[in-house]
């Protein structure tokens, strides 16, 4: 059996990675006969019959006309191509040569044997070659050498990417490979890698990077001439294509089990890391490949994917499998992916290390810096994965919460993976492992406990709130929620158990049922309450529309369902609360998913307290993000891991929408999603909503100690507002209804009005968990009452402004509740982070997870950045003149960015990116300022100084500490970015996008923080203390990061957590207001992250596409991305700018890229126009100049403009308007992200087909950019690179009748000339 499997695998592998690829192979016209072979052929006596087995295009068939040249080729296309030149071609297989024995005078086997997957097959091929050769005849064999001057392979079995120029369709059938993948013992990691490929773009990139890096190292040193023409841009694109290829393989193998999505963050991280390594890739010279190609394969521009052997990784897989009892297959896949990831990471690390040590002409420091961010990213992602695993376990079994050990195991498992990485990156990896493990274990335990507590508390709170508020709807809610939620939960459970695919179908069903239920509910709501009725009608209409939508629309339907649910919930606010409570309780006990969902909600709210629950949820979200860089993916992934996703969604509203539909927790999600949706449709509304929320929070702070009560009270008013707004919303919804999103938004708005109670319930739940924190916060608040007042005041004006803006005011009010909900969640997180230092990592993770969910590609970075921003903001808040300081910081950042750009000699091309980086750095300014000092030290330092001056001394100290830490990180990031810019590789883009995201988040956070700061000025001292503590922790974390890449990643996470803690502390002090702000900011950040992630992915895709070839799809994607970015306002602008910068670089490098840029620009302009409209609306609603400026800046692509906008925002942040603007921007981002998600969803279904909705969306996104967008498809050819003497040994040992005449190393290949001898057997 094993032998058969092995044979079948090898056959499948060869078919997929050799034969199918060569069917698509474009022979490089440059390819010329290898001189040595040419000499050999010329030396043959006339009349010799020579067969070139594997003749390719027949370039060796015309060398010597005095001999009879037979060309043997298995590829139909190549054989026909060779036949066109009047060559005698035979389609044959080296393993079964159709020649008589001893019939040929010479045989050529040029670059053929290394395509055979097993030693047996290689031997068989050699024997066949010897058989047909006459005695005395000579055989020339060339195989790719493992020991190459230009590249070094970690494994002998590698997949070498080859990009096909314009072909969109890949002919490779991975089904065969899937079998091999299933077997953990496969000799070829290629299978696993391929399976992982869905989320492995980063892997492949890393592989490529490795190979390239190695090649560059050796190649440059040894053969600089050869390295002269490595198309870095082209290289980057192949990576993506490879990624898509892997995805395809994985998809085929997994058959839609996309749970792996959670793993994507790893890939992303690794991808990022790869990006860091990209410079090496550029350096890399495909010469070796080319030479090999000279023998038959040309244009191996892409770095090879090394197929690492599974044996090392297998143990790792096992633990994961254990963690995932329900879906072992998926777990296996994940494990495989993780392995591959680990391998990739290791490779990357190696590459990074090598790069660093090698100290290439390029920025060595930048490499190091890049490495550190990568490490941080990796660490972040790893915890996420662990959390995800935990969440999965929880989902699978309700006991998951009770089983922290599983999580620990998962953590330990993760470390194992890390160990593999460590092999390559030993020192840092080990440290990181320990840190991560500890952090994860502690976080998970805490999170679990907290989740349990929170769930209980939430349930009680929700019940109380619901009953208090409205009794009429309770019956309806109970019926609806019980039925829908139970059904949904059941469906979700089934789906999870059945696998992602089933879950997706179930999800759809659930959504349909939920829609129906929602209609019923809506009607009931109508009966129950008039205010609700209009919204219900709208909801019903919307639901009907949604129901009509197709699968692609299914996502939207899910959203609508969620909205419907929301509506129903809203209609029966009490019932909704009850349902939410029920769902919470039921989820906890009955459906682990539901419980998870609730927990996540609480988690996002309170990373520390809810870290346990949030931890799993966050991992899921992270995983979703990782797996699906784009938000859509997260949504899809959420379906399988819906509970998690929902939790995540809470943080990331767009995600929550999708998730919400499938599960009962959807209520919360729906609420959050609803908030987001409204924000999408009407940013202005969101702003007003936020304001009311703040008011509510203020009220809650003032009125009742129990957060639940507070929330309930504020929520009610919000509901009223929403109800009042409902008519407007209806109108808006009608207008918007044209677009599904708008519909959902409207629904959401309605749902907000109706669901406000529900939301309040959710909030209350969260509040319950938060109450403890809140108590602390209350104490702080007592000290800092002014903060709440300030925030409320600011919010109130915003609301008024919104009211001024026609019907938008109403919508805004409606949306406000949503924001409030979101905000509430965030505060919990903040509280949690504040509560425990240990929780900080957890909180960071949770935060990251939330953010990551939104930011699929760069969750860690974004989260980290966001966190950083928060801390900074908090710090600023602490200082009375925090706003001013922030403004100063922003200015300084802008200056620093400018300086950096200027300083960055890497030119105008890089300038945009440099600007972006600098902007990002500026945004990070407090911490980043010092870092900037390093790069453009003056500007950054100045900004930091300025900010510090404004701030209180304590604040200054804390800020300085943070700034130092942040600056270090920023410096690293900047260096990485610069390097990336230089390289112009995808990783750079990713980084840039991440940075942009972070910057945008930071800006938004800063704005919020500024407001808070103004409010919190009184409580600066307390904050200062907190900040100090945080800074200390950060400082600690930072050094660790420096120590090792992984550690750095962990540190980043820690740092993020620390900021979060600071923010949380500030929030606690500010209480509800701060919490709300933080929540909003988190939500915004999550959205922005999502958008950024999407943008990043898109950017990556675009880059790859550009590198590969410009395609309309890519342009469209860019446009979409651009739109998203534009919508993102400043953040979006930054991302866009980064992209633009990338594009500019690409343009300079590649004309095609320039074309793409041009196309993208128009698209961006379109997006800007649309976005600008949105932003204008938002601005009108907010009536904040800052917002407008931000929008204008956002419209403007200039990096400095972004910084300026940030600065403006920060300055304006003092005013409530600024907050509104930021919120609006955030909302716009969210809306953009939503739109993107929708687009992605729409795109994904086709690609993914019948897979899990969440996974599908993610996958589709991933696949879309590569497949749809990217005109070029990267094919991977399998190579078995031969070690020195390996082929000789094979011949000597297994082919008796061949006598090796000469064995030489040429052109990265082993060239053996053997003569057939007569073997006398006695």
């Amino acid at each position: 059996m094993a032998s058969n499997d092995k044979i079948s695998r090898s056959v499948a592998l060869e078919q997929t990675y050799v034969h199918d690829v060569y069917e698509q192979y474009y022979d490089n016209p440059r390819s010329k006969p290898w001189p040595k072979i040419k000499e050999f052929l010329s030396g043959l006596e006339p009349g010799s019959i020579v067969c070139d087995v594997g003749c390719g295009n027949g370039k060796y068939l015309k060398v010597n006309s005095s001999i009879y040249n037979l060309g043997g080729e298995k590829s139909i296309r190549l054989s026909e191509l060779a036949r066109q030149t009047e060559n005698e071609i035979i389609k044959l297989d080296n393993l079964a040569l159709p020649f008589r024995d001893n019939s040929l005078d010479a045989v050529l086997s040029i670059s053929v044997v290394h395509h055979l997957a097993t030693t047996e097959r290689r031997v068989c091929a050699l024997r066949e070659l010897a058989r047909v050769l006459r005695v005395g005849g000579r055989l020339v064999i060339t195989v790719w050498a493992m020991e190459q001057a230009h590249r070094k392979f970690e494994s002998q079995d590698i997949l070498v990417p080859w990009r096909k120029p314009i072909h969109i369709s890949t002919s490779c059938d991975l089904t065969s490979t899937t079998n091999s993948e299933d077997d953990g013992q496969h000799p070829y990691h290629a299978y696993t890698q391929t399976s992982d490929s869905d989320s492995n773009k980063s892997f492949r990139n890393t592989f490529r990077k490795k190979g390239r890096g190695n090649h560059h190292r050796k190649g440059r040193s040894i053969d600089p001439g050869r390295c002269s023409s490595p198309g870095s841009s082209s290289l980057s694109s192949p990576n993506e294509t490879c990624y898509s290829f892997v995805r395809r393989a994985i998809q085929k193998l997994a058959g839609g089990s996309r749970r792996v999505v959670g793993n994507r963050p790893w890939f992303l991280e690794s991808w990022i890391a790869c990006t860091h390594k990209q410079p090496i890739q550029k350096r890399y010279d495909p010469d070796g490949c080319e030479y090999c190609e000279c023998c038959g394969y040309d244009n191996v521009e892409d770095q090879p994917i090394e197929l690492l052997r599974l044996d090392d990784e297998e143990p790792k897989e096992l633990p994961r499998r254990q963690t995932f009892p329900a879906s072992q297959l998926i777990a296996d896949i994940d494990a495989l992916k993780s392995k591959s990831m680990s391998n990739i990471n290791a490779i990357q690390a190696n590459n990074n290390n090598n790069n660093l040590f090698q100290s290439c002409d390029q920025n060595v420091t930048s490499h190091t810096v890049k490495k550190s961010p990568e490490v941080t990213k990796i660490t972040l992602t790893k915890p996420k994965l662990v959390k995800q695993k935990k969440s999965v376990c929880d989902e699978d079994a309700d006991e998951a919460l009770d089983q922290p050990t599983d999580m620990k195991e998962a953590i330990t498992k993760i470390p194992v993976i890390r160990d593999s990485l460590i092999r390559y990156e030993r020192g840092g990896v080990l440290k990181q492992r320990s840190l991560n493990e500890e952090m994860l274990s502690t976080d998970r335990l805490r999170e679990k406990e907290r989740l349990k507590q929170n769930i209980q508390k939430q349930t009680s709170l929700n019940e109380e709130l619901i009953y208090k508020r409205t009794h009429t709807f309770e019956s309806l809610k109970d019926s609806i929620f019980s039925v829908a939620s139970s059904k949904k939960l059941q469906m979700i459970k089934i789906g999870l158990t059945n696998k992602i695919r089933n879950s997706t179908t179930n999800m759809e069903k659930v959504t349909s049922s939920s829609l129906k239920n929602g209609f019923v509910r809506i009607f009931q709501n109508w009966k129950g309450a008039e205010l609700l009725s209009p919204t219900a009608c709208d909801e019903l209409i919307e639901n009907g529309r949604k129901c009509q939508k197709t699968q692609v629309e299914e996502k939207e339907q899910n959203d609508s369902n969620t909205t419907e649910r929301r509506h129903s919930k809203e209609d029966g606010s009490d019932s909704s609360k009850d349902s939410s409570l029920q769902s919470d309780t039921s989820v906890d006990s009955e459906d682990s998913f539901a419980s998870v969902i609730f927990v996540p909600k609480s988690d996002p709210m309170s990373p520390i307290g809810g870290t346990l629950s949030a931890g799993p949820a966050s991992p899921l979200l992270k995983g979703g993000c990782q797996s699906a860089p784009q938000s859509p993916r997260i949504k899809q992934s959420s379906c399988p891991t819906s509970p998690r996703v929902k939790q995540m969604s809470i943080g990331v509203h767009p995600l929550t929408k999708q998730f919400s539909s499938p599960k009962p927790s959807t209520e919360l999600l729906t609420t959050t999603t609803a908030v987001f949706f409204p924000t999408d449709d009407k940013e202005c509304d969101l702003k007003p909503n936020l304001l009311p929320v703040q008011h509510v929070q203020k009220q809650t702070k003032e009125s009742t100690k129990t957060l639940a009560q507070k929330y309930a009270v504020p929520q009610i008013p919000k509901f009223k507002r929403t109800s009042l707004n409902t008519p407007n919303l209806k109108d808006n919804s009608n207008c918007i209804s044209t677009s599904i999103k708008p519909k959902t938004n409207i629904i959401v708005s309605d749902g907000n009005s109706n669901y406000t109670d529900k939301q309040s319930g959710f909030v209350t739940l969260q509040d319950e968990s938060r109450n403890e924190k809140l108590r602390k916060i209350r104490e702080i608040l007592c000290q800092k009452p002014g903060f709440g007042m300030k925030s409320t005041r600011n919010n109130c004006p915003i609301v008024r402004k919104i009211s001024d803006s026609d019907g938008k005011e109403e919508t805004i009010a409606k949306r406000i509740p949503k924001l409030l909900k979101l905000e509430i969640f965030n505060p919990e997180e903040d509280d949690d982070s504040d509560s425990s230092c240990v929780s900080s990592p957890d909180s960071v993770d949770s935060v990251v997870s939330i953010k990551s969910s939104s930011k699929h590609t760069s969750p860690p970075y974004s989260s980290v950045k966001g966190r950083f921003y928060f801390p900074e903001n908090n710090n600023v808040n602490e200082g009375m003149s925090l706003l001013e300081a922030a403004a100063n910081v922003a200015n300084s950042l802008d200056e620093a960015v400018d300086k950096v750009i200027k300083s960055n000699s890497k030119c105008k091309r890089k300038l945009p990116t440099g600007d972006v980086f600098s902007i990002l750095q500026r945004r990070f300014s407090p911490d980043t300022m010092p870092l900037l000092d390093d790069d453009g030290e003056n500007g950054d330092t100045d900004g930091s100084r300025r900010s510090s001056n404004t701030w209180n001394e304590e604040c200054h100290k804390h800020l300085t500490a943070f700034a130092d830490k942040l600056s270090e990180k920023l410096m690293r990031e900047i260096d990485d970015y610069q390097l990336t810019m230089d390289n112009i590789d995808d990783p750079y883009i990713h980084r840039l996008s991440e940075e942009l995201h972070d910057l945008s988040k930071l800006s938004a956070e800063i704005k919020k923080q500024n407001e808070y700061l103004t409010r919190l000025s009184q409580s600066t001292t307390t904050y200062a203390q907190k900040i100090k503590s945080k800074t200390c922790t950060r400082c600690r974390k930072y050094p660790e990061c420096r120590c090792k890449l992984f550690s750095s990643r962990n540190k980043h996470g820690k740092v993020k957590s620390e900021p979060n803690n600071t923010t949380s502390s500030q929030n606690t002090s500010q209480e509800n207001l701060t919490t709300q702000n933080t929540i909003i900011s988190s939500a915004l950040t999550s959205y922005s992250k999502n958008s950024t992630a999407n943008s990043v992915h898109r950017s990556e895709n675009v880059i790859s596409v550009n590198t590969v070839k410009l395609t309309t799809n890519v342009l469209a994607n860019h446009g979409r991305r651009a739109d998203c970015f534009v919508n993102g306002s400043a953040e979006g602008d930054q991302s866009e700018r980064k992209r633009d910068g990338m594009m500019l670089e690409e343009e300079v490098e590649l004309i095609e890229s320039g074309r793409d840029l041009g196309d993208r620009r128009p698209l961006i302009a379109k997006g800007n126009s649309t976005d600008s409209c949105d932003s204008s609306e938002k601005v009108s609603g907010s009536s904040s100049n800052s917002v407008i400026s931000s929008g204008a800046t956002s419209i403007n692509f200039g990096g400095p403009s972004i910084a300026s906008s940030v600065g403006d925002l920060s300055v304006d942040s003092k005013d409530s308007v600024s907050d509104a603007g930021s919120t609006a921007s955030l909302i716009s981002f969210e809306t953009k992200t939503k739109n993107r998600l929708e687009v992605m969803d729409s795109l994904t279904p086709g690609h993914l087909k019948k897979r899990d909705p969440s996974g599908l969306s993610d996958i589709s996104q991933d696949s879309l950019p590569s497949d749809e967008i990217g005109g070029e498809i990267t094919y991977h050819r399998y190579y078995h690179v031969f070690r020195e003497g390996e082929l000789d040994q094979l011949i000597d040992k297994y082919v008796d009748n061949l006598h090796i005449v000469s064995s030489t190393y040429e052109h990265a290949s082993w060239c053996i000339v053997a003569e057939k001898v007569q073997v006398w057997t006695i």
């Binding site: 006339p46 019959i49 026909e80 035979i90 044959l92 079964a96 020649f99």
Partner: protein, 124 residues
């Protein structure tokens, strides 16, 4: 496919086939092309080929023309023979048709002058 190539082909790789030679030809499209005559090349090629198989193939295709059934003794100096052999070996091409394994009857299609000698995995 030239008849010289056919002279080398066998189907012995098929499982259960011992010799698989010569492959019978079922040609639907035979083309005669002009190829530069190289007497040295042909004279060197004659001993490498199975002349009866070639003759049967030529006969099968109807291009025997005066090709002797057996190679003359001093063919190296027999330019006329070499030209005939040249014509049979290099100028007669099977564009479309099929090769049939004499033992298993397995058919190998010839398309565009390219014989497809690929076997399925289960045939090896």
């Amino acid at each position: 496919m030239k008849l010289l190539t056919h002279n080398m082909l066998t189907s012995k790789c098929i499982r259960g086939v011992n010799v698989g030679y010569p492959l019978s030809i079922n040609a639907s499209d035979v083309r005669v092309a002009d190829v530069d005559f190289n007497p040295d090349f042909i004279s060197r090629m004659i001993p490498k080929i199975d002349w009866p198989v070639l003759y049967n193939a030529v006969e099968r295709l109807g291009h025997v023309e005066d090709l002797p059934k057996e190679t003359p003794v001093n063919y190296e100096s027999n330019e006329d023979f070499l030209k005939k052999a040249h014509h049979a070996l290099l100028e007669v091409e099977i564009i479309h048709g099929e090769l049939v394994c004499p033992e298993s009857g397995r058919k190998f299609p010839i398309n565009n002058g390219i014989p497809n000698m690929l076997l399925n995995e289960d045939e090896i």
